[in-house]
Every structure is written in structure tokens, then in C-alpha cells.
Amino acid sequence: MTMPRTDSVLRDRVAIVGIGQTAFGKGLPDTELSLACQAISAALDDAGIAPAEVDGLASFTMEPNREVDVARNVGLGDITFFSQVGYGGGAGCGVVLQAAMGVATGQCTVAVAWRARKRAAKSSRPWAQVPQRLSDHWQWSRPWGLLRPVDEVAMLTRRYIHEFGATRDHLANVALAFRKHANQNPAATMYEKPLTREHYLEARWISEPLCLFDNCLETDGALAIVLVPAERAPDLPHPPVYVHTGAQGIPPQHQTMINYFNEDPLAGPSWAAARRLWHGSEFAPADVQVAQIYDAFSPLVPLSLEGYGFCDRGDGGAFTEDGALEWPEGRLPTNTSGGGMSEAYVHGFNLVLEGVRQMRGTSTCQVESADCCLVTSGEGVPTSALLLRR
């Protein structure tokens, strides 16, 4: 699909100037509200900006902490722009995009985007608390035992393997690359835990054809970023990271998570987001040397590589061969902090912060030559993506 060429209102007008995060772990003693406030406070300190200057907030509809509670605790000023994005793991880059649009249009001047999550919290595991009688779209899948996100993605994965010849070795390439990167990152949950191909292939099934290591972690933690107009960024402590382009995506006839009911279920939301993202960009996929791709489940990575145009349709599995996703030698070092599978799973928001670190030059798997970094949110649900640049 081609779109008429237009100048983006957003392009490079807004900079990410602060990042902050808590420790990642299981069973952290702090509440979700405390974690959110700690991450936001750290991001503001990193940016050298006072809380009273914050006038924009953006987060996920699944975020447990309300704007009013965050604002009262961190000591924010008048909030004149606040926005939430839906669809769980598809939201993350869209949240940043909302904040950036708030800044770019002048509805706010200092925006904070964040996500806080505890794995034990009921709100984190909606599949485990659905009511016994289903009156929404889950009535078309759950009665037969398709209960969890992993089951829903496994169904598409089996079809993907059947149609395009992807293999478990390809999925292992994804898991092993991200683990290697986590082994370089002291903040990662799996920093001290190497993973071998043998471990992967011997792991227990969760939903065949997906095994334990095809799944992301379950993590407590919070992350936040601070965005300001580009003209203010040079006065702040860290090198600015610009929001070059961003996009959200819902393709025609899409059904979230159980996208089995249209002509081409394997051409998912990434394809829709990608068309908008690249249209507004000075870069093409061939220019991208580092990426953070949403990885709640390993097969989402080859599907996203196809959607965002790094390879042809059906070649996402083969793309992972020969260490293509691995730092430092691979064609496209991906999830260079370990991603959702090996750093932390905070609904993909840690991917945004790693994208910022890559553009600052402070990643523990730094790709020195990269001028831009693709960050994506969940494939298989209404999604979003960002292209960050130095």
C-alpha cells in the first residue's frame, strides 16, 4: 500500500530526555504505586527536570496506577494532557507516541510515560480471572481450552510453521540471542543465567509447539521516560533521543489475540503499523542496525521482522539464522538488554528504555554505528512502534 507523501508534524520535534526504572524481580516488597513513583522520580532526576514542571501523562489502560495518584505522590503540577492506550502489550510504543503528540501539539510541555506491574497482581493476569460465562469474543475460543495468551499465539505459530517452514531452531535462535544480551546486562533478570540450545530443546512444553523458553518472564518492576520539545533538549544533561516517527496499527478484520477469523491471520498488526511508520521516516528497514522487538513469545519476533520489512513474507524464521539477532556481529542485534524473555517483562516498556540507551550510547550491548533504533510493541494485538534517532 502506498500513501501520499506528507511531512510529519511529529518528526524529530520531541526528545526523550530522561529514563528511570526500578529493580526487576519477583515478589518485590513495594506496591505497584510505589514502583511507578520511584521509576518516574528516577526519570525526572535523570532528565534534570523538577516534578512541578510535568504537565502531561501517558500510560496503558492496563496500568494499575491512576494519574491522580501518581501526580499526588511525585508532586506534579497542573496536568493538562493525560492519555491511555489499550490492548496490553500492544500499547507501549503507542503510549510514548501519545505523550510525544501531546508535547508536539503544545497540549503539554513535559510529558511522562510509564508502566508499573507486579506479576502477582490480579490485573496482570486477566486470563486467570475471566468470569465463568463468556459474553464477549472470548466465547469463540476459551470454552475449548484455548485459555492463555501462549495458547492463542501457539495456534498462529503452528500455522506459521506449516505455511512457511519455520522451525523450533528458529525460535531457539530468538531465545538464545536475547539471553546472550541479558548475560551482558547486570539489570537483567537472567544476567547470570546462560541458556544453551540443548536446554531450550529439552524444556517442558507450555503449549505445543511452544516450550518454556519461548515465553517471556514474569516480572515486578516499573519504568518511565520523560519527553520535552526538541528545542529544550540540548540544555539537559543527557544526549537527546528524538522520536523520529511512531505509529499504531490495527489491520482490517483484526481480532485481538485470537486473530483466526480473517483471510490472512499471519499478516498481523505489525504490517499496518509498519506502513505508517516507514511512510513518515527518513530511514528504511535496510538503514536500521539495532531493534527492540516485542517478545512476549518468541514467534512474535519473526512475524514482526516480516511485518516491519526486514525480510520477505515467510522468511522471518530464516532471518534469525547465523546469529542475525545477536550482538555484536549480527545483521540486526535485537533486544540488546535481553527483552521480555530475558531482561524483564513489563509489557514491553523496557524495550523503549533500551532503545533510548542505544541512541545515548549507553547500552551494555552497544551498537556503535546505529543512527536509529526500531522499537515495537506486541504483534498479534492492536500494536504500535517507534523509530528513535540520535
Binding site: 486467570a128 475471566v130 465463568q132 460465562r133 463468556l134 459474553s135 464477549d136 469474543h137 472470548w138 466465547q139 469463540w140 475460543s141 476459551r142 470454552p143 475449548w144 481450552g145 484455548l146 485459555l147 492463555r148 495458547d151 501457539a154 495456534m155 498462529l156 503452528r158 500455522r159 506449516h162 517442558r204 512444553w205 507450555i206 503449549s207 505445543e208 509447539p209 478484520q253 481480532q255 485470537i258 483466526y260 477469523f261 480473517n262 483471510e263
Partner: protein, 148 residues
């Protein structure tokens, strides 16, 4: 025929919006899909408007109950208790013979009154022809599938 314990399964509200006719059809052992009352395009899952012509006129028509396996998974625990007791079991997606873009989630059974964990998953093949059968769970009738 009741084939499972009448507790713990996630079941549809058989009176839910747009879907009541589908579940009533299952109770009569008829597999129905919606068809646009204006342009005659079939659709599933049910919904109020035809995306092709935007008519809200709806008909319900029986389909043959013949289909092919489009994909399948084999869930293992952790699962909700009622499903964990049956794991590993299979879940399939079938493509209806009338229109392969009309797909439904179900289970593959070894026999019409069999449980969802009786077929050896290693024998399940994408593209295999299947036919619908109906099983009652509590007060709901679910379509499931056996090899044709």
C-alpha cells in the same frame, strides 16, 4: 451427552448479544453461521454489521459441518483446574468447507462422545478433513470435531 464434570469450564453465555442463534443452533445439533441479509456474504464470529455492504440485515444459515484442520495446539499446565485435569489435550482451528476463511475453534475427538484428550497429538495433521459433532457441557452445547 454429558462428557465432562459440570464444573470449572469456561462456557459461553448462550444469550449473549449477536450469538444467541448460534448457541441455540448448537443445542439443536445444527451448526449455523450468519449470512448478510442483503449481499449474502457469510461471516463468523457473529456481529451486527456486514463489513462488505454495511447492512444490518442478518440471516442464520446451516453449514455442512465439514471442515479441515487449519492449526492446532496442545496446552500443558499451568491451566485452570478443570482444564489442567485433562491436559495435555488438543485445541484445533478448523476452516469450513463452505468458505475456508470461516474458521472456528474446537477440539478433535477420537469418537463423538470422547474426551478432548483422547487423540494422540502426534497424529493430528493440518489439512485433515473433519466433521462436526455436538457435546453438552452443563447447559451448553459445544461443537467439536472428529475425523471425517
Amino acid at each position: 451427552m454429558v462428557t465432562e464434570m459440570a464444573t470449572g469450564f469456561l462456557l459461553p453465555d448462550v444469550e449473549s448479544e449477536d450469538a444467541e442463534e448460534f448457541w441455540a443452533g448448537c443445542a439443536r445439533h445444527e451448526l449455523l453461521v450468519q449470512r448478510c441479509g442483503a449481499c449474502q456474504t457469510a461471516r463468523f464470529p457473529p456481529r451486527p454489521m456486514c463489513a462488505r455492504c454495511r447492512s444490518t440485515a442478518v440471516e442464520w444459515v446451516p453449514v455442512s459441518g465439514r471442515a479441515t484442520i487449519w492449526s492446532f495446539v496442545v496446552p500443558h499446565p499451568p491451566l485452570l483446574p478443570a482444564y489442567a485435569e485433562l491436559a495435555p489435550y488438543n485445541v484445533i482451528v478448523v476452516a469450513l468447507d463452505e468458505d475456508p476463511t470461516l474458521r472456528m475453534v474446537g477440539n478433535l475427538l477420537a469418537r463423538p462422545d470422547g474426551p478432548i484428550n483422547e487423540v494422540d497429538p502426534a497424529t493430528i495433521v493440518i489439512g485433515a478433513p473433519v466433521r462436526v459433532v455436538f457435546q453438552q457441557v452443563e447447559d451448553v452445547t459445544l461443537p467439536r470435531w472428529v475425523l471425517a
